[in-house]
Symmetry: C2
Subunit: 328 residues, 2 copies
């Protein structure tokens, strides 16, 4: 089954959930000012996959939860995600996201900083409304780890000595923790057993690690005409990800110095970039990253195979698989 077929199968099963998540995203924004609504809406309603809230809904259902309020709390994780996107775009000096101009280029840095703060505050306030200290602690822990992960990434920009271990630490903090937290909270909302809670935490963690690794591979391989995204963003922003770390480890001296020069000057011609990607394919750096991601997806899937077979379990298995095979 190719990526598009898999995507279609998932979407058919979660269509109603996604619609209710969209509703909850709008309802819980309850903006007091038009501009907040506008800016937050610009980032929230511009084609996100809603993967994080979906994991909350599916995870809770997997644990037998049948109520309705899980959807309200699922948006905590989309708000958190959106908050970091707004601030990241400022930090990276990004111009486009999902093919649209980013918030700070339209409304300026001040408004974008504040709307990021507002979204972060909104997600914390929603978590507080659960009045469940465990859930609140998980969300608080996520916000702290994410800011530390981002700072770590900022400090390591352009650092050619970045190790695999440091890269894994950064993506665990800036990405995996949010997926893990969404799955963890799904179990807590459903009042699941300790074993179920652990299984969902493991699923979320491995799924998040794989998701970011594939994101980092796609930054070298995606087809910008099909996706509206631009390849090569990471290297332009000085972000060294696993394919680059790998090529620096394995390439010969000539290739290494070409790489270093591109990273140093943070710019390149299309031809240079294509040659780099070819070199990455040739030395197996992209395949290496994909294989690492595949190992995480395998562990994610194994974690939830501990649950009894159900359509929800199938969907979660598919979602993990899709994180691996997606082309955008």
């Amino acid at each position: 089954m190719n990526d598009l077929e898999l995507k279609r199968r998932i979407l058919e099963r979660v269509e109603d959930d996604l619609q209710e998540i969209e509703q909850a995203l709008k309802q819980n924004l309850k903006p007091h000012f038009d501009l907040v609504s506008k800016i937050a809406g610009h980032i929230l309603f511009s084609g996100g996959k809603r993967l994080r809230p979906l994991l909350v809904v599916l995870g809770a259902r997997l644990c037998g939860y049948q109520g309705d309020y899980v959807k309200t709390f699922s948006v905590i994780f989309e708000y958190l995600h959106a908050a970091t996107l707004v601030h990241d775009d400022i930090i990276d000096g990004a111009g486009l996201r999902r093919g649209k101009p980013v918030a700070h280029t339209i409304w300026g840095n001040p408004a974008a900083v504040l709307v990021g703060d507002f979204l972060l505050a909104r997600s914390i306030a929603l978590a507080a409304r659960t009045r469940n200290p465990k859930i609140i602690a998980v969300v608080a822990d996520i916000t702290e780890n994410m800011s530390q992960g981002e700072i770590q990434q900022l400090l390591k920009k352009g650092d050619l000595e970045l190790t695999e271990a440091e890269y894994f630490d950064v993506i665990q903090r800036k990405t995996a923790i949010l997926f893990q937290g969404a799955c963890h909270v799904s179990a807590l909302l459903a009042d699941a057993s300790a074993a179920q809670e652990k299984a969902l935490v493991d699923y979320g963690y491995h799924m998040g690690m794989a998701f970011q690794m594939i994101d980092d591979v796609l930054d070298y391989t995606l087809d910008s005409r099909a996706t509206g995204k631009t390849a090569g963003t990471d290297i332009r922003e000085g972000k060294l990800t696993l394919p680059v770390i790998r090529i620096l480890q394995t390439a010969d001296e000539a290739d290494r110095s070409v790489m270093k020069e591109m990273i140093r000057k943070k710019d390149f011609k299309t031809d240079e970039f294509r040659r780099l990607v070819k070199r990455m394919e040739h030395c197996g750096a992209l395949e290496y990253s994909r294989r690492q991601a595949a190992a995480h997806v395998r562990q994610a899937r194994e974690a939830i195979l501990t649950f009894a077979s159900s359509e929800t379990r199938d969907t979660l298995l598919d979602v993990a698989q899709y994180a691996l095979v997606r082309k955008a």
Copy 2:
């Protein structure tokens, strides 16, 4: 008793508390990266008054609390305060704070945005550690209101039609709520009665309103040689505060157009500024603001007069009075 004598009397009584708060501020930062420690430290340890954590400590003591962990949680409010200072300085394009260059001019906007996020996250994480849903809800509510207050202020920059009611709404959200929250949490930590809780909430709210109003008056009247602060910052940043709102309401057409021109061009010569301040004194705009602040201080003091007389109550009465008479 003048402002300096009053300050001395307060400081003598809270010397030990302040030392323990300093310790808690350092201990609870537990930075994982040197740069975070450096930037957060730059803003946290540059001469803040520690008023907010002090209110937590004194409020809890007033309610009979004798334990020690209140100091740990008191720093929640200093971290929150520092987080907003870092982001505010970016938003306002400020260059100096307390006579020192601000974080974003030294380390750049990206690092400053992230360290603000980190401090916000740290304060939420500390609140979560109380495992008290009420305390967590108060802190979550503060973060949400503060970001909304800041956004509101940003939207109203340079708006000559700003009303008193809108001004009060902004300062309630961006300042008073933090003082109110600190006092509220002090009562919750001390497991105080509902009446005590309400009294402290009222004290914090009125104290915070007065504190910001006096801050806004001082921006026109302070002696920069004595304080190291620069007068006239608000008008340069397009922030219309109560003295300006009042002068626009009461001045004649000639004065109004001078004012409007200064606000429009966001710049002025020292002479022009002095003339403006003279006009404010002449038409009673500064006195009007001081009187409003005095009314809030009166209400703050009345609120805690419901407690039995004690040294702690005296100190809190002094602190409210100092908010009014301070010259810096």
